[in-house]
């Protein structure tokens, strides 16, 4: 692996290597010296053309825990606002000696184009490209799910295990969600079954050809007894438009409300006694797609997702920047 651009096409053993490495990275955060010397003298550039505090901070923390130097480049207030092209920006960063470029861009395929170009020798990590993919988010979701799934099934350690037999329900704005796309491919690769629950206006064209089961009613989707419910964020800019009329109506039909929480509380992980899980990629709109009670429920893994995000990004940086890729 030289780059991480998408979970579509990510091989099973590469996915497991990232998750297994991430488990060991997670252990680092609980010890006295929370730093590894692995990437000493290497430079990681965060190249963010879209606002994202969480993902950028997570990548920054990951790089710093591996002793890499971090350069943050955000489009706002930079030469980009003066009209500099992606190519010229990347060549400038390359000239500064970037070993890895973490890129977030509003255009789908931006990371792939950068990786395919000869603008830079650096490893490219896609941190979100348009509505296409956000692979590290899917990987941190998988890490979170796998830990509970393995523990519920009596594994001493999640290492080497996958998500065979797990049913994951993804709810909300699938159409605009790169998180949903990345999750579909990764969860399928790891052996899980993926369900969508969304209004027809927020489903992508051709979704019937995706390897998923689509529900047009959240309550019916919950009857299908998912092991995990992943609530997607409702993006405020979609509200009031053609997608759905009001936040209140969205919440009533597609939100994880207090009433639906009582249904989710009855769900279990497979045949085990362990309760089902609630995930959310953040930032949450409390009271819209998820009620406050659901967000704070013992079944939610939202803070674990944030912690695992750093571990997964450490794993990806380690695996891409060590070893001779040529």
């Amino acid at each position: 692996m030289k780059h991480l651009l998408a979970t579509e096409g990510l091989k099973y053993h590469d996915a497991l290597a990232i998750l297994d490495t991430a488990e060991e990275m997670a252990a680092v955060t609980s010890r006295e010296v929370k730093k590894l010397p692995t990437l000493r003298g290497r430079t990681v550039v965060n190249l963010f053309y879209e606002d994202s505090t969480r993902t950028r901070v997570s990548f920054e923390a990951a790089a710093k825990r591996l002793s890499a130097d971090v350069v943050n480049f955000s489009a706002k207030g930079s030469s980009v606002s003066k009209g500099e092209s992606l190519k010229d920006t990347v060549q400038t960063l390359d000239a500064m000696g970037a070993d890895a470029i973490v890129i977030r861009h509003s255009a789908a395929g931006a990371a792939a184009q950068l990786a395919a170009s000869d603008w830079s020798e650096a490893a490219v990590i896609n941190a979100g490209d348009g509505t296409h993919e956000h692979p590290t988010q899917a990987l941190l979701d998988a890490l979170t799910l796998r830990r509970d799934w393995a523990a519920a099934h009596g594994s001493a350690s999640p290492r080497g295990t996958d998500l065979s037999g797990m049913r994951v329900l993804i709810v909300g704005d699938i159409l605009h969600s790169r998180v949903a796309r990345s999750n579909v491919w990764l969860l399928r690769t790891l052996g899980a079954e993926v369900h969508f629950a969304a209004p027809a206006t927020l489903l992508p064209l051709g979704v019937e050809h995706w390897p998923v089961t689509v529900h047009y009613n959240l309550d019916e989707a919950l009857v299908a007894a998912p092991d995990a419910v992943m609530m997607l964020r409702v993006q405020a800019e979609r509200m009031g438009g053609a997608f759905f009329p009001t936040a209140a109506e969205y919440s009533r039909r597609w939100g994880l409300t207090d009433e639906r929480l009582t249904v989710v509380q009855q769900l279990r992980l497979g045949e085990t006694e362990a309760p089902a899980l609630i995930l959310h990629p953040g930032p949450m709109n409390r009271g819209v797609e998820i009620s406050a009670a659901a967000a704070d429920s013992a079944q939610t893994r939202i803070t674990e997702q944030v912690t695992n995000g750093v571990a997964v990004r450490m794993a990806v940086l380690h695996l891409l920047l060590t070893g001779d890729p040529r």
């Binding site: 490495t21 010397p37 060590t322 070893g323």
Partner: protein, 187 residues
């Protein structure tokens, strides 16, 4: 395999067991007991070897509690060849809950060669705490050190040429029966 390659067994399963028994006795003698003793195996083959040493220490000195004195120390993230060797998935590091501060830590590995693994292990150890003493026990010392490092306890010294390969085969790692364990040299 080239035509000139040949394989010679230098230790059989019984030799490995005897060597570990002797090392266990040496450790107790050197420490005058087992108080404050922690045995850490270096993945992968050092880990089962450390567990066996722990079991033997428990029979020699009943005061030794393997459950709270055994662990594994992964060194992947501390290697000095990370840029040139293939990317590796780290193995778990498990340390006794009480930590390693002020303890006598015995690192256990299968083969001592360049010494670079042990250099990495000493760096890793320093990130977990400050042991009073660190010792090194290896099943095989094949020579050719590249760093000023030596073992305190050696199962067998095996003079080798650099082009030769020493292979240790252990039941838990290599999926063989305990009787089939061995150390071989590929020339």
């Amino acid at each position: 395999m080239s035509h000139s390659s040949e394989t010679a067994q230098v230790m059989a399963a019984s030799d490995i067991d005897r060597a570990l028994t002797r090392i266990a006795h040496e450790i107790v003698e050197a420490q005058r007991g087992t108080e404050g003793l922690i045995i850490l195996g270096i993945p992968r083959r050092g880990v089962p070897l450390a567990q066996r040493l722990g079991a033997k220490l428990g029979t020699i000195d009943p005061a030794f509690d393997p459950e709270h004195s055994l662990g594994a120390l992964d060194i992947t993230m501390y290697r000095d060849d990370l840029r040139t060797s293939g990317a590796r998935t780290p193995e778990p590091t498990t340390l006794p809950a009480a930590g390693i501060d002020a303890a006598t830590v015995v690192l256990v590995d299968d083969v001592l060669y360049s010494g670079r693994t042990i250099r990495a292990a000493l760096d890793a150890l320093a990130d977990y705490g400050r042991p009073a003493v660190v010792r090194l026990a290896v099943l095989v010392d094949r020579g050719h050190r590249e760093l000023p490092i030596r073992a305190d306890h050696v199962g067998k010294n095996i003079p080798t040429a650099r082009h030769e390969r020493v292979t240790v085969r252990i039941a838990q790692i290599d999926g063989i029966s305990p009787e089939a364990e061995e150390v071989v040299i590929n020339r």
